[in-house]
């Protein structure tokens, strides 16, 4: 075989096909962008339609409120990129907040140890989720749904549905500390901290080998396995990460609410997390999206919730609207997928 012959063969690439598929990819991207544009417009409309939205106080408030949601959405992003889902994040968050408070109240440990207890409790539950999904090959939906039910039940049982407020003032002073970077505008330390978590997540996902493996597993787990990627370990790790994020969110929310209780992670919060992630462009089918989008999504979901609240729309109506938002995004994702053929 001469090289001449080889180049002769490859000199005729199917140019038209390339153009056509690129066009398809573009239209698929456009379809996926439509709901985001609509949502941003709705958010802007709400923002300007709502009195007092643009007060410095309310903006700070929205950002602080969005922080635990954003962190949990980042955890969910890791899981969803591999094609899984973790429905137990809010319940794990509530449970570990309770554990931390119990440790401080009953064992008399320092509040910082209480925080570490929260992180460890969340990691342990994430460990169970990950082990069941990755190594026992159980379906993520079922595993984490069961985890959610068990952990919520345990939380109610342990606390008798009573709020625990065992943390000392020092805990609140630290977590809710306000930086005075700009004269007259206090910035709660939670905001830059959340940004830091987001940046770490972005760097890991975009730059590390683990990040690449996540996308490979979410795109084609069989090809990933043939290529020598430790697929089980990758999937296992994502549930550890979502657990850890639930633990971090527990610390923030326990500080913001002033106490820990079984209903600090209500069912509706799962919906908010999933909405944030899919609004942020993570595909429920895996392999697409990233933490930046998830943080952006969390912000939008929080703004809509906050604005509807200020407009005195009832909680239940808000639920209906959020439910529609998720369905719309998944539908557009599915449509974009069909157009893009993958």
């Amino acid at each position: 075989m001469t090289t001449e012959k080889l180049t002769g063969y490859s000199a005729a690439p199917p140019r038209k096909a390339h153009d056509a598929t690129q066009g398809e990819a573009l239209s698929s991207r456009l379809i996926r962008a439509i709901p985001i544009v609509v949502l941003v417009i709705v958010a802007i409309f709400l923002v300007f339609g709502v009195p007092n939205f643009f007060t410095q106080r309310n903006i700070t408030n929205v950002l602080v409120q969005a922080a635990p949601l954003a962190i949990m959405a980042i955890g969910m992003t890791f899981v969803m990129i591999t094609g899984g889902i973790d429905l137990s994040i809010p319940s794990i968050m509530a449970f570990s907040a309770i554990m931390g408070n119990l440790a401080v109240r009953d064992l008399g440990v320092h509040w910082s140890v209480g925080c570490i207890v929260m992180l460890i409790a969340a990691l342990l539950l994430g460990f169970i989720n990950g082990y069941a999904v990755a190594y026992l090959k159980m379906i993520p939906f079922v595993v984490t749904l069961a985890m959610m039910t068990v952990v919520t039940g345990a939380s109610v049982w342990i606390t008798n549905s009573v709020s625990l407020a065992a943390m000392p003032e020092a805990f609140f002073d630290v977590v809710l500390y306000r930086l005075q970077l700009i004269e007259g505008i206090p910035i709660p330390v939670i905001i830059p901290f959340t940004l830091l978590v987001a940046i770490i997540a972005i760097v890991v996902i975009r730059g590390s080998i683990f990040g690449r493996w996540l996308y490979a597993v979410g795109t084609n787990v069989r090809a990933a396995r043939v290529s020598g990627i430790p697929t089980q370990r990758v999937i296992f790790s994502t549930y550890l990460i979502s657990g850890l994020c639930a633990g971090i969110a527990a610390i923030i929310l326990a500080a913001r609410l002033g106490s820990a209780s079984a209903n600090m992670g209500p069912d509706g919060m799962v919906l908010d997390i999933v909405s944030s992630v899919v609004v942020g462009g993570v595909s429920i089918y895996g392999g697409v999206g990233g933490p930046l989008g998830a943080v952006f999504g969390a912000l939008i979901i929080q703004i809509i919730g906050n604005s509807l609240n200020l407009l005195e729309v009832s909680y239940y109506t808000t639920l209906i609207i959020k439910g529609f938002v998720i369905v719309a995004f998944v539908a557009f994702d599915s449509l974009g997928r069909r157009r893009g053929n993958g």
């Binding site: 075989m1 012959k5 080889l6 180049t7 002769g8 063969y9 490859s10 690439p13 199917p14 096909a17 390339h18 598929t21 690129q22 990819a25 760097v203 730059g207 590390s208 080998i209 690449r212 493996w213 996308y215 490979a216 795109t219 084609n220 069989r222 090809a223 990933a224 396995r225 043939v226 290529s227 020598g228 990627i229 392999g287 697409v288 893009g340 053929n341 993958g342």
Partner: protein, 502 residues
């Protein structure tokens, strides 16, 4: 004997983009007889049968059934004309009952509900005709492979067909089940049914068939009463001229073992497989589809489970026993399923190329050095002549040949000492096939150990320094690189019957 053929296919022509699959095939089959349809891979057997089954339409030609010209536009047309298929891959629903499986496309109903009585009565009639002892209410998952085959046949018989096609019906049967299948086929022949029998096993057709039609390259190259043929003559017709092809490369084979496996066994799939692969050697694992050839290489690197057996790899100059998961780090694997197991289709050429090699591209902080990743990817795009507008192009949009080069390139980046290539040129055009073959030669010249699996005998003959013949999960023979086509074909088919008798 009836002189008029019951099925008469004349001048059947069918071309697909780039391939002339059928070039005027003739096929005649008589009532009450079994006709063996033989041909190597790509001879046009499947296309011809799909034409008869109404799955694809021929471009030209005439089909007569019982001296009446018919047009087969859909599988429904085929059924209406008395044609039924017994498929090779069992298309049964394991959790449903025998009766439900048999009626899945045409449940008898009464008032909109399924009429269980009628369904069972029909089943019982057909099952007793086949001499089956199980009840129509048995779940398919509780049946043996042979009984499942009977359910397939029973399903075909429901439509009272006059022509039944058997496509590789014995490939997963035990010898006793095979004997029972042959009894059923004989009984069907006595009832006047026309049988078309497709198989790789030449000895079987002499047991059960009266006539034979041999296809090669989309043409009928031989037909007639089977008693006028010897097995060797049929093999010759299937593979054409017996000239030994000019081998394309100078052997650089060494005697240094790179990989040695011992007694690989997995219950019902692999039986005590042992072989040694040397540096610079291209070893062909030659066997039919379903012989255990893919399972062998997959189990060595842990993609398939293994019950027992040891794997030794040359690490730092000495053979060392390793586990499959460790073996995978030293073996580049190209699977037969390019799209399903080879590529991340929506992802870029660059990301697909670096997938197996990311560990070597890390900075001290554990991040991937993107610039090096791109440089290396560009290097292999150039080296392998991968036609892509840029490195960010989704692999999905490339042609099959270029996609395959991306899969190969991924392993070249990692540069392991051993390669397993399962059907490395499947579905590629002639030019791309030659390019992939050249890459394999280059690998061997650089002292890599390569194990190749291919269904195409010409390709195996062009590539291999040595052959292992595998059948029903066993290595049954070893042949030297200069083995003739005839020897290879005979080894795969002949050895098959030995394996069955054992």
């Amino acid at each position: 004997m009836i002189t008029q053929p019951h099925l008469d296919m004349q001048h059947i022509v069918k071309s697909f983009p780039g391939v002339q699959a059928l070039r005027g095939v003739q096929l005649q089959a008589w009532a009450g007889e079994a006709m063996a349809l033989m041909g190597a891979n790509g001879a046009g057997k499947s296309t011809l049968m799909n034409v008869l089954g109404g799955v694809i339409r021929a471009d030209d030609g005439e089909i007569r059934i019982g001296s009446k010209a018919v047009t087969l536009r859909s599988p429904l047309d085929a059924t209406a004309n008395g044609i039924a298929f017994v498929h090779q891959e069992m298309a049964l629903l394991p959790t449903m009952t025998v009766a439900e499986n048999m009626h899945i496309t045409r449940f008898p109903t009464r008032g909109g509900l399924i009429n269980g009585k009628v369904m069972e009565a029909r089943c019982n009639k057909v099952l007793s005709r086949l001499g089956c002892g199980f009840s129509p209410r048995t779940r398919v998952q509780d049946l043996s492979t042979g009984d499942r085959q009977m359910v397939e046949i029973a399903r075909a018989l429901l439509s009272e067909p006059s022509i039944i096609l058997f496509d590789e019906p014995t490939s997963s049967l035990t010898s006793r089940e095979k004997a029972r299948l042959f009894d059923v086929i004989r009984a069907l022949k006595q009832e006047g049914v026309t049988i078309i029998y497709i198989t790789h096993f030449i000895d079987e057709i002499f047991q059960i068939c009266e006539r034979v039609t041999v296809l090669r390259g989309g043409e009928t190259v031989g037909a007639g009463a089977l008693k006028d043929f010897t097995p060797d003559q049929i093999v010759q017709l299937m593979i054409g001229d017996l000239d030994v092809e000019q081998r394309e490369h100078r052997a650089v084979k060494t005697d240094t073992p790179a990989l040695r496996v011992n007694g690989l066994t997995r219950d019902g799939v692999l039986n005590n497989i042992s072989f040694t692969l040397h540096e610079g050697e291209i070893l062909g694992l030659w066997g039919l589809l379903g012989s255990g050839r893919s399972e062998t290489v997959r189990s060595v690197i842990g993609l398939d489970p293994l019950d027992s057996g040891t794997i030794e790899l040359r690490v730092n100059g000495a053979l060392k026993t390793v586990r499959p998961s460790e073996a995978q780090r030293h073996i580049g694997m190209i699977t037969e399923d390019r799209r399903g197991e080879g590529l991340l289709l929506p992802m870029s050429v660059k990301n697909n190329l670096s997938l197996a090699n990311l560990r070597q591209l890390l900075t001290q902080l554990g991040l991937v050095r993107e610039r090096d990743e791109a440089t290396l990817a560009q290097q292999f795009v150039d080296k392998l002549n991968i036609v892509t507008p840029n490195l960010r192009q989704p692999v999905r949009t490339l042609s099959g040949g270029n996609q395959q080069k991306v899969v190969v390139g991924r392993w070249l980046e990692l540069n392991p000492p051993i390669f397993f290539m399962d059907e490395p040129t499947r579905g590629l055009d002639v030019g791309a096939k030659a390019e992939i073959r050249n890459i394999i030669f280059q690998l061997a010249e650089q002292r890599a150990a390569v194990l190749v699996i291919s269904s195409e005998i010409e390709e195996m003959m062009a590539l291999c320094d040595r052959y292992l013949v595998i059948n029903r999960g066993q290595i049954v023979k070893e042949l030297p690189g200069n083995a003739s086509k005839n020897e290879l074909m005979a080894a795969a088919a002949g050895a098959a019957s030995e394996g069955m008798r054992a």
